[in-house]
Structure formats: structure tokens, C-alpha cells
């Protein structure tokens, strides 16, 4: 076995724990797994989710999600579990609460303003 291959295997040592295999999930659960892992941040990467990362922590967290899904936990429970330990930072889609509500309502407010300005532009002095 080439030296190069040995290095690669050493580097990917922690990925040997392939005990979990998401491809064994039925297709709707697989979709749920893929969507969920795309919403969880890989904390040791620069701005990636755990679905698209090979970092050891990402693999561990994916395995954790898989295990929790097998235990029939809901998406909310899985997210709560992770947030309790890592903070809201780990969720790539901010949850709706009083701090983030502007993020979710801004587009609507913006569109209303556009309508308002447009009407004022068309009828400048209310003719």
C-alpha cells in the first residue's frame, strides 16, 4: 500500500466509524436527514454545513443526528439538543424569536414600503 494511501487513511482515521449508514434509511427519512444536516453548521469549518464536510466533528454530529432520528426524535428535539450544547450558532436557519423576528418580517415590510413609494411616485400630489 503506497505511503500516500497510508497518510490518507491516517487522516481519515476517525471516519472509520461507519457504523451508521444513512443510505439505509427509507427515502423520505433520507430526505429528512439530508435537509436536517444541511441546516446544521460544521463548527470547525469555515461556513459549511455538516452534510458537506468531512471534518471529524461534522461526521460525529451527522452520526448523532442519525442516531436521534433512529430513536424517533423530531427535528425540533434534535435541534434543541444541539442548541443546548452549542448555542443558536449551530443552526444555519435562525429560529423565529424576538431577536430574529426582523429577519423574517423584513421582506414583507420592504415590499410594503416599495408599494408605498411607488404610489407616491405615480401620484406625486395626489391628483
Amino acid at each position: 500500500m503506497s505511503f500516500f494511501l497510508r497518510i490518507l487513511i491516517f487522516i481519515s482515521f476517525f471516519n472509520l466509524s461507519y457504523a451508521y449508514s444513512p443510505s439505509s434509511l427509507p427515502s423520505d427519512q433520507l430526505t429528512r436527514f439530508q435537509t436536517l444536516t444541511k441546516e446544521i453548521r460544521c463548527l470547525v469549518c469555515q461556513n459549511q454545513n455538516i452534510a458537506d464536510s468531512n471534518a471529524p466533528l461534522a461526521n460525529d454530529l451527522r452520526e448523532k443526528v442519525f442516531t436521534m432520528m433512529s430513536e424517533k426524535k423530531s427535528n425540533e428535539e434534535i435541534k434543541d439538543y444541539l442548541v443546548k450544547r452549542y448555542g443558536e450558532f449551530i443552526l444555519l436557519q435562525p429560529r423565529f424569536n424576538k431577536l430574529t423576528f426582523i429577519l423574517w418580517t423584513f421582506p414583507l415590510i420592504g415590499l410594503t414600503c416599495v408599494l408605498f413609494f411607488l404610489i407616491r411616485f405615480i401620484k406625486p400630489s395626489g391628483k
Partner: protein
Amino acid sequence: MIRLFGEISLIFALFCSLIQSVLPLLGHWRHHPYLSAFARPSALAQFIFILIAYILLTIAFTTNDFSIAYVAANSHASLPLMYRMTAVWGAHEGSILLWILILNAWTLATAMNDAPRNVALTLSILGLISFCFLCFLLLTSNPFLPTTGPQLGRDLNPLLQDPGFVIHPPMLYIGYVGFSVAFAMTMAALIRGQLDTAWAQLTRRFAVAAWCFLTLGITLGSWWAYRVLGWGGFWFWDPVENASLLPWLSGTALIHVLVLAEKRQTAKGWAALLALICFALSLLGTFLVRSGVLISAHTFANDPARGIFLLLLLAILITAALAVYVIRLPTFAKTEARPFFWLSRDTALMLNSGLLIVAMMTILLGTLYPLVLDAFHLGTISVGAPYFNSVMTPLVLIVMVFMGLGPLCRWEKQPIHLFVQQAAKNFFLGLITAISLLWSIMGQLDVIPVISLMLSIWIILSIVGSVRSLPGMSFAHTGFAIMVIGIMLSSFLSEERETRMHPGNAVDLGPYQFFFIDTKSVSGTNYRGIRANFDVVKNKHHVTNLYPEKRIYTVRDMVMTTVDIHPGVFRDLYIALGDPLSDDDWSVRIYYKPFMRWVWFGGVIMMLGGLLVILQRKENRAKRC
């Protein structure tokens, strides 16, 4: 030697930029045409000196002159020549030099095209921007600093050793920087107190040109990320990507509102403000990317000194520009009271700009929000791709609705019933075509694919009548529709499989079978690796062979996954090697992505549309003479 001449060139350029910015301003203030005459020659001189500095840096890279720290940090003797030449912009210092070079190239283009009475002031402002960036370069980001001690070179980051890197940053910068021209022209016009048709016409041409390059740059960046990152994605809402999308959105709004300013002599204040916003966003983008305040896969190395400088630059330039705008606003606001009919192209263009700005501000808010919360100690949150996808999808669909209605409107009034008739025709035709196409391709009907496909066809139908008279708009809108089709279909129809394989295994995905034949060792000038050979078969016919690789770049000791892709008009086949799991087994990711190419194809067509706009106007000018 190179170091010395490089730095001298830069200092001369700095001097020229000072002349270029100060003298014409004085000349305008004191009504001395003699001073204003310094503008063009100093712009040319500055360009030449920057070009010399850039060429010297390139020479340093190609000749492996590791006495220069920047070259040592980003190159290596074993790096292939093409990448040695383009590694010039591989990190912060060199990319700022490229930025300044491109700024001066645009300045030269402006100098050759602007009307004589305006050019001095425009060049003066461009010179001011160049002066600021040259100070930034020389004081905090000098590419010609010497190395301490002997160096062998750290090699270029392997992620950058790809053809995409050769072309994406320059195109992106040409676009980004090009909006400075629109900004400078607008500022000059404001200072002179005249936002006239000539201003609108010329600014629009330069803005469209910049927009073309920005569109191309973003498209290429997306294509490059798809090739290099190994997970089949092409847009990640990464802060640096958002930083390029923001000026694109406001730039699109700008080029549309300038049509109003030029042809209808209205909305000039709004157009001027948009020019200012575009430029502010490109400066903000530069700051965000290089200051280290945001976590991103793309950021350059962080240095607070650079961040402060850029922030101050941003603050001073934009405050000054806003001040000029606010002071001059009353002088041209009075000429604008032109009554509108609500159902007209005028309204459509204004609505379009409003929607695009809302989209831009949504992305800006999302990108900056974690920073804002952190600054007020309200916690750390992430605003990532899932958020942007959820929020932007409805916005884009709304924009598309009006994109399909706008071209149906005429200037000023038109009979409402004709308009409604045409719109209804397009609606039903679009809906039927979309449903039948989706049914035949997917075999099922989901809401979002139906709506977005219908809207794309709706847009294409709306420009059918205008291809002759407005080829630019037709192509650009069609390109956008095609891009949306590509994005939507590829995300709904794509399939992926991640499995463990060893030579001899086969895997099915979609209508294809993938046979893992063997692996062998390969090496390049600066890497060693393993190349796998996959046979791809469909309906018992051999389609192609795919050769994904896993490489180690020896100098930096970085492992890279090299993907192999079989592109096609209607689908991409994409294979990436994951990690080796034992002697023979590999983790393999296979993706089947229908209509993937349409995303970039659409982007290129959009750019062609922009080019047609510029060429058409040149033709019109020629005809008039």
C-alpha cells in the same frame, strides 16, 4: 531589483493619482480649464505606472523570485506556469493591486469616452478613489515587501489551482470596480449641478458594461465552486458570495432606472442614489471580505489594520458622496414632476428597482445580522443558506411575475384590455407548457417547480415581441429565465448517492450505472495522488469514463478532492472520492444533476444581453451621425 522598481512605480502612481484628483477639482472650483486639462494625462500616466508595477509582480512570480514575501507565500517553483502567473491575485496584497489596475483601466476607458466638459471631474473622482486604494496598498498591503530569511515558496492554495481561478477573479473585479465609474460620473454631474440626458446615457453604458462583467464573474465563480468544492453545490450564500451579489442586484436596479432617466427624464434622483449605493456596496464588500469580521470559506488573511483602513475609507467616501447628493438634491428634484399612468413601462421599471433593492437589503440584513447581534452582546447566531433560500425564493418569484409583465407595457399609457389580454394569453400558455413539461420530465407536479417553470416561460413569452427592437433586454431576461429553470430543476431532480465501493463494484443512479474499475497513482508537478477510473453506462451503452482523484499537494501538505464531471446539455454526472476506508474501499459520492449547465448557460446569456445593449447603443449613435 523588481522590488525596488515595483515600489517606485507605485509611488509614482500615487503621485499621479494625487494630481489627477486634486487639480481638476481645483480647476472646476476656480474655473481654470488649464488645471482641468491635467486630468487625462495624469490618468494615463497613473495607468502606465500601475501596469508596470503589476507586470513586475507577475515577472517576480514567473521567475520564482522568492525574495519578495508575497511571492514566497503564494507560489512555488513546481507550480505550473499558468498558476504562477495568476497567483498574483491569489491573496490579499496582489488582489488589491489587480483592483487598482482595473480601476485605472476603467478610468482610461472613461477618459476616452466621456464628453470633454465632464471628463475632468469624473477623472478627478476616479483619481481620488485610486489614491485612497493606493494609500491602502502602500501602507498596509504592500505586495513588494521583502522576505525575512531564505524561502522556498509556500505554493498556491490548492483550491485555487483550477482554471476557474484564472478567470473568475479578474472578471469579478472588472465588474465590481466598473461601478466606480457610474459613481464617479454621477458625483461629477452632481457637483456640476446637472443630471442631464448625456449623463444618463453615458452612465448607463458604463453601468451595463460593469454589470456584464459582474454577471460573468459571479457565474464563473459559481461554476468554479461546483467544480472544486466536491459536494455538487453551486451557491452557498457565503458572505463573500453575498458581497458580490449585493452590487449585482443594485446594479441591475441602476441600469433599469437609468433607462427612465435617459429616455423619460424622470427618476434621476433615484438613479443617482442607486449609483451611490452600488459603489458603497462594492466598498462594503471589499471590507467584509478582507477584514475578518465574517466567517467565510473565502476570506483572505485577517489584519485589523487593513480592516480599519477600509472602514475609514468607506466612511469618508460615502459620507462625502451622500453629502454631495443631499446638498444637490433640491436642484434637480423640481424638474421631475411628470405624471405617470399606473400601467406603463415607467411604473414597471420603478417597481422593478424597488423589488431588487428589497432583495438586496434582505441579503444585506441577513449577512450583517450576526455581526449586529454580536456587537450589542445579544448572542451569537448563524444566518446561513437555509435562511436565504427560504426568504429569497418568494421574492424572486414575485420579481419574475413583474418581469413578465413589464415588457408588455408601453411607455406612458396603453389600452388596459389589450394588456390584460396579452398577459392572460402568456399566463395560460405558460401554465400549460409548464405542467406538460414537468409531467413528462418528473412524472409528478410539485408546487414550486410548477410555479417557477411557469414564470420562466412567462418571462420568455413576454419578450417574444421585442427581440428585434430590444435584443439586449430580450436576451438578458431570457438568460435569467433559463438560469432559474436550471436552478429549480437541478435542485428538484438531482439525485445523489454516497456509498462505499471498491474496484469491481457498481452503483445505479438515475438512468446510469457507475462501475468502479480501478485506481492508480498519479502525480503532477506539485502533487501526488490516486486516480480512480469509473465506467459510466446507460442502457448498455458506454457513455464515458470519469476519473476523480484524491491529491496531496506536497508543499502545503493539503489533501484535495478533485472531482470529475461529465457535463451535458440536459444533465451533469459528477463523481467525487471521499475518504479511503481501508486498503481497497473508498467512500464515493455520485451526483446526477439534470439541467445543471442551464444555470451558467443562463448567466452567460444574461451577459450577452448586456453586451447587446452596449453594442446597440453604439449603432444608434452611429446612425444618428
